[in-house]
Structures are given as C-alpha cells and as structure tokens.
C-alpha cells in the first residue's frame, strides 16, 4: 500500500504535499493505474494529519483526473504516467533536461542551478509588475 509522508518545515501546505507525492509517484512508476490509495482514516492516523486535509487532497486528485473514488471501496489511481504529465509538459521536460546538461557542463552545481532559477523567476515577476 502506498504511504504518504509529510515535511512539516517545507512551507508547502499539507494537502498539496499529498497531491504532489501522488503525481510524482505516478511519474516515477511507484503508482500505477488501478492502485488503491490508503483510506482517509489510515492516512490521518499514519501522519497525524487532519482527516479533512486528506479529503481535500483526494478531491484535488479527482479534480485533476489522477484518482477516483469507488463507493464503498476507496480511492483508486485512474491515470497513467503519461496522463500525469501532459504532452506540452513532456516537451518542456525535454528542453529542461537539455538546459540542465548545459548547466552541468558550465560547472554549475545543484545549489547554483536552484539559485539561478529563483533569480530568473524573480525577474519575470518584476517584469509583470
């Protein structure tokens, strides 16, 4: 059975952390179509998290078409890894990989890459204003 985790210091709201984990696990193949997600009560007890938060995360997954509830049976994964990452994102991912290779060749480590992305994002925000 799939198990969630929670990072209390990440600053990402707990329900979003759950949604991200399902999406990521789909991409990595840890979750497949038809897999059952743990019950709300099990997640609440496992992570010591508000059950309403788990309900909210599952609703979001349903809204995104990644999971669906079957009455009396639980919540199941309804997407495959390719639906989890739509086509346009796959194109973006390919060009990102290319960029990351170039960054590595230029001698940038992980920290420098993250900093560069943050700065670029900041500049874009300023342009919008």
């Amino acid at each position: 059975m799939f198990r969630f985790r929670l990072d209390g210091s990440s600053g990402v709201p707990p329900y979003l952390q759950l949604v991200h984990q399902v999406r990521q696990s789909l991409l990595l193949g840890y979750l497949e179509e038809g897999d059952r997600l743990p019950t709300v009560k099990d997640v609440a007890a496992d992570l010591a998290i508000n059950p309403n938060t788990v309900v909210k995360a599952y609703r979001q997954l349903e809204h995104e078409g990644l999971a669906g509830g079957r009455p009396g049976q639980g919540t199941f994964i309804t997407a495959t890894s390719s639906t989890a990452l739509p086509e346009e994102q796959q194109v973006l991912r390919a060009s990102l990989e290319e960029w990351l290779r170039a960054a590595e060749e230029a001698g940038l480590d992980e920290e420098a890459v993250t900093a560069l992305i943050a700065v670029a994002r900041q500049d874009m925000k300023k342009e919008k204003v």
């Binding site: 929670l6 209390g8 709201p13 609440a44 992570l47 010591a48 508000n50 059950p51």
Partner: protein, 320 residues
C-alpha cells in the same frame, strides 16, 4: 458511524460577546466565535490570553460573566447534564486517580456517563498495549495521556476539547497521541478544539484557526481562507505605515527593506500601483506568529481583524 446527528447547520460552538471577569480583571472579553461541526480547530495564544478561560466555559467548568455560549445549540443556561454530555475534555496534566487501575478508571467513566462506550475504551487500550490492571501511577506519561484521551472518546461526545494535551509528552508520545486524535476524528464527524503553543505543529492538525491575545479574538476562521486573505509585502524601509494599504498586521524592518503582513486585497492593489513592491503568499506559521505578536489593544477597534473573524461564504465544514 456518525456521532453528531444534529444536522449540518448547528455549529459545534457559538459564542456571542462572551466574557469572564476575575475580580477586576477580564480573562476574556467580547469573544464572538463560531466553530462549525466536523472541523478540527486550533486555539492559539500566549499564556494569559484567555484560552483556558474559554475552554473552561465551553466544558461548563466556568460560568460566563457576560455574553452567550452554546455547544451544539445547548446554551450555558441549559441543565448541566445536557451540556456535559456534549463535550469530552482532556486537560493539560491528564488528571486521573493515581491509585486507580486503568480498568477502575473505565468503571468510573461508565458510572458517570450514560453514553459510555466500554467496547471502544477496551479496544483502544488493547490496541495501545495498556494493561487494564496497571495502576495509573505506574503508567508512563504517554500512556496516561492516552488513557485520558480514551476516557474522553469513550464518552461519545460530539465535541472533544484538548487543552495543551501534548505539552508534557516526549516527541514520540506526542506523535502517537495526535495520531489517535486524528484517527478518532476521521469519518466520525467529531469536532475537536485543541489549544496549543506549538504553532509549527498545528498546520497539519487544524483546518480552523482561532488566535486569542489579551482576552480578545484576533483572528478566527477556516485556516485556508485566512491564509489566502493575507499577503506578505516587501517594501522599501522608508515606507511609512500610512503609505501601506490598510492596517499592517505585523511589520519587520531590515536595513533597506521592510516585510509587512497585510490583508490580501488592498495588498494586491498596492503592488500594482507601486513598482518595486512585492507581494508573496503567507504561510500558516507566519500568519499565526504575526497575529500573536500584534499588540492586543488594536483588536477591538481594528476592522482588519473583525473582517477576518467574520466567517466568509466558504466556511462550511468539509463533509465526510
């Protein structure tokens, strides 16, 4: 299994200009709140803010000096038995009779509560590996807390009130205690009000938030809505408070810039008009800390807190 069949519209807790005076000092004043059924509400405030006064009025241990309070529609003037049946309570120090065995405590609970669920009590202690014959005084702190929680849950009351329930526990016992509370709330419609100083832990427990300081409500409502209703502005240090949109909730000055927590709507407008200003979303802990650090005098007159305290259209509890 639904513990409260009182219908969706009766809030678990409603207070109207509730106040309690101790001699000349007001422990709590002008407290108007609503907590819908089915939420887990975090009650935050510094020592002396009025948290325990509020909790003790909710559980019927204290009578209000002024104002109204009702729990699932039962007002503070209703017969005590009717009110007490609505609330389960776990106090900070988990008071139990030291010379009683766990089984004796359950016997007592059964004798005192008509709705006592002995099956639930036994199933919980069994799952937690707590022997019924063990005397309370020889239990660990974590086990004692779990027995207190079991006593409160076996009462089958629709509202569970926890006053700093984990402050005396080690990190593992804390986690185990809260796992039990969250599991008990899942799928049962149980409403929980939990007072805590540990703001960083509250985000995962609470979908409703109440901040009290100096005997006044500073902020109350659905946690998500409250977070969405605020922005953290970064502005040049020279910016005066008068130039800021609305009344700043909290301001931190650095050498060249200042971080100011403001309401989201005026904040967004200001950023559009003022190049160089930046508005970022605020996190749960940041929001709570900002309100905790605000001088309590501003609460009564400040319209920002009032607006935040008023339940918005989106305040209905998540139904399970």
């Amino acid at each position: 299994m639904t513990q409260n069949d009182t219908g969706g519209n009766i809030p678990a807790l409603r207070t109207d200009r509730l106040g309690r005076r101790y001699g000349r000092v007001w422990g709590l004043r002008n407290c108007t709140l609503e907590v819908p059924a089915g939420v887990i509400a975090g009650l935050v405030g510094p020592n002396g803010a009025g948290k325990t006064t509020l909790l003790e009025m909710i559980i019927g241990l204290l009578q209000p000096t002024e104002g109204q309070l009702s729990v699932f529609g039962e007002t503070s003037h209703a017969p005590m038995a009717a009110r007490l049946a609505q609330v389960g309570y776990v106090a900070q120090d988990h008071p139990l009779y030291r010379d009683f065995s766990v089984g004796d405590m359950f016997h007592l609970g059964r004798a005192m509560n008509p709705s006592w669920d002995q099956k639930l009590a036994l199933a919980r202690t069994d799952a937690l590996d707590i022997p019924l014959k063990r005397k309370v005084k020889s239990l660990s702190g974590g086990q004692r807390a779990q027995v207190s929680l079991t006593m409160a849950l076996a009462k089958r009351a629709p509202l569970l009130v926890l006053d700093e329930p984990v402050s005396s526990l080690d990190p593992v016992a804390r986690l185990e205690f809260m796992r039990e509370v969250m599991a008990a709330a899942a799928g049962t419609g149980l409403t929980v009000i939990i007072a805590s100083h540990v703001v960083s832990e509250l985000e995962r427990f609470c979908d409703w938030l109440i901040v009290l300081t100096g005997g006044h409500v500073q902020l109350a409502g659905p946690a998500d809505n409250l977070i969405a209703a605020h922005r953290l502005l970064t502005v040049p240090r020279a910016t005066t408070d008068a130039e800021l949109p609305g009344l700043p909730v909290h301001r931190t000055d650095s050498d060249r810039h200042s971080s100011v927590l403001v309401r989201a709507d005026p904040g967004r407008r200001a950023v559009q008009e003022r190049p160089g200003w930046q508005a970022d979303p605020v996190g749960f802990e940041q929001l709570v800390m900002a309100y905790l650090q605000r001088p309590s005098k501003s609460a009564a007159r400040d319209d920002t807190a009032q607006a935040a305290a008023r339940p918005g259209p989106n305040t209905k509890a998540v139904t399970r």
